[in-house]
């Protein structure tokens, strides 16, 4: 069977739809979609976008697979615990559709790389799990004029919307800041790890995001442009409401690339926890499956003595000088309570941060011993 015949067979059931047809499939095969976050929303969106024949897919996530992810992130299995979500997702999805071109970014989307990465795509799917990244992705999409397919979940409810997609001259495109101009205060809105989420919910919402993306690309149906849909999985109620641009929103968004690069989204969102910190579950996932070196940065003789896992010892004072690269792609530092290891992480990230992931065990070995 020729390649074009195979393609035709693979997509025959959607080509058969008269609204979609060969023209729709051709548009999808040319489309470049970036999925930010390969968590619950991202897993679902990615699977259907890839299966449907999206030409190029970008996957960006700096997180690793943890046991508590598996109930809602079915691209991953037990053997993947401790491994990079972006890399594992890429490998699984390549099996699903080898004709899709994949760009896998095993890194965090930041003000430094966001404009360059997003600039290479036609549409962005928001599968992030925190406000700092959501506001940053929103602002970057406004700056670059890229449509953003938004999705978010909380417990049993999910939201979907299409932002930044022009319709006509009377209705300027709406973005997330037209809904909530400023991020909520830290702790005001809980995330999945705090309040929980029904596993199937991000699957439903992420799949809806894939559907909206396919509709945008192919021009079929009525995507949720300037409209916010809320779905409740407990009672199957759907509530859709119309959105409008808000005067003054544009002034809250960085006006150009240099202003964007200088914006501290963590600070705006009141994020106080360091990007270096990992909890005991993630620590255990990394140490059992990752290519990791673990370093105790306490002074010689400090107790408790750690015999539960392999590690080396380099006190904080000499970590910069004495750390020797042995080719591990992740460095995890720990101390008594997590304070010195955080300092050490900042020091090592300054030198190795581009090529390695550097983490500090939050709460230190004392907290870890309580939980293990």
């Amino acid at each position: 069977m020729s390649n074009s015949k195979q393609l035709h067979t693979r997509y025959s059931r959607q080509i058969a739809l008269k609204e979609f047809g060969e023209a729709g499939q051709e548009k999808l095969l040319q489309a470049k979609v970036l999925v930010v976050g390969a968590g619950g929303l991202g897993c679902a969106a990615l699977q259907y976008l890839v299966a449907a024949g999206t030409g190029a897919i970008g996957i960006i996530d700096d997180d690793i697979v943890s046991l508590s992810n598996l109930h809602r992130q079915p691209l991953y299995g037990v053997k993947d615990i401790g491994l990079s979500k972006a890399i594992v997702a890429g490998n699984v999805l390549r099996q699903l559709n080898p004709d899709t071109q994949f760009s896998v970014y095993n890194e965090r989307l930041t003000v430094t790389n966001a404009l360059e990465i997003i600039g290479g795509y036609d549409i962005v799917v928001d599968g992030t799990d925190n406000f700092a990244t959501r506001y940053m992705v929103n602002d970057a999409c406004v700056l670059l004029g890229k449509p953003l397919v938004y999705g978010a979940v909380s417990r049993f409810e999910g939201q979907v919307a299409v932002f930044n997609q022009p319709t006509d001259t009377q209705h300027p495109p709406v973005n997330y800041r037209d809904l909530f101009p400023q991020p909520p205060a830290a702790g005001e809105v809980s995330n999945c790890s705090e309040t929980g989420v029904l596993g199937v919910l991000p699957g439903i919402i992420g799949t809806m995001q894939a559907g909206e993306t396919i509709k945008l690309v192919t021009g079929i149906g009525t995507p949720l442009i300037n409209s916010l849909l809320t779905y409740n999985a407990l009672n199957n109620q759907v509530f859709e409401c119309q959105l409008a641009a808000r005067s003054g929103t544009r002034s809250l968004i960085p006006q150009h690339a240099a202003a964007f690069a200088a914006t501290d989204y963590n600070w705006l969102c009141g994020v106080t926890e360091s990007i270096f910190e990992i909890d005991a579950e993630k620590f255990n996932a990394l140490r059992t499956n990752g290519n990791v070196v673990i370093i105790d940065v306490r002074e010689p003789g400090e107790t408790p003595v750690v015999t539960e896992f392999e590690h080396t010892r380099i006190p904080l004072g000499s970590i910069e000088k004495e750390f020797v690269d042995e080719g591990h792609d992740t460095i995890i530092l720990f101390c008594q309570s997590g304070k010195r290891s955080l300092q050490a992480a900042a020091l090592l990230a300054g030198k190795w941060g581009v090529e390695k992931k550097v983490f500090s065990l939050a709460g230190g070995i004392l907290q870890w011993k309580l939980e293990n």
Partner: protein, 75 residues
């Protein structure tokens, strides 16, 4: 009239619908809700009147639908 609530707002009110009477517009709705549920004063939400998100004080009729929608962050 009945007000529909979403997400964590229901933790404050204890229910996903509340009933308020003699409400002429969204400003008096917010005032009444803040009096009945003081914790609502400190949280962000959108107000949708007849399925349109409103940004300024908007008249509400007894037959209208009003919904309060908070931001979600999970993914």
């Amino acid at each position: 009239m009945e007000v529909i609530l979403f997400g964590q707002l229901t933790d404050i009110t204890g229910s996903n619908t509340i009933v308020v009477d003699n409400i002429a517009d969204t400003d008096s709705l917010v005032e009444t809700i803040n009096r009945l549920y003081p914790a609502m004063a400190g949280v962000k939400y959108l107000i949708a009147v007849n399925k349109k998100v409103v940004q300024h004080n908007t008249a509400i009729t007894e037959a209208g639908t009003v919904a309060l929608l908070p931001p979600f962050s999970g993914g």
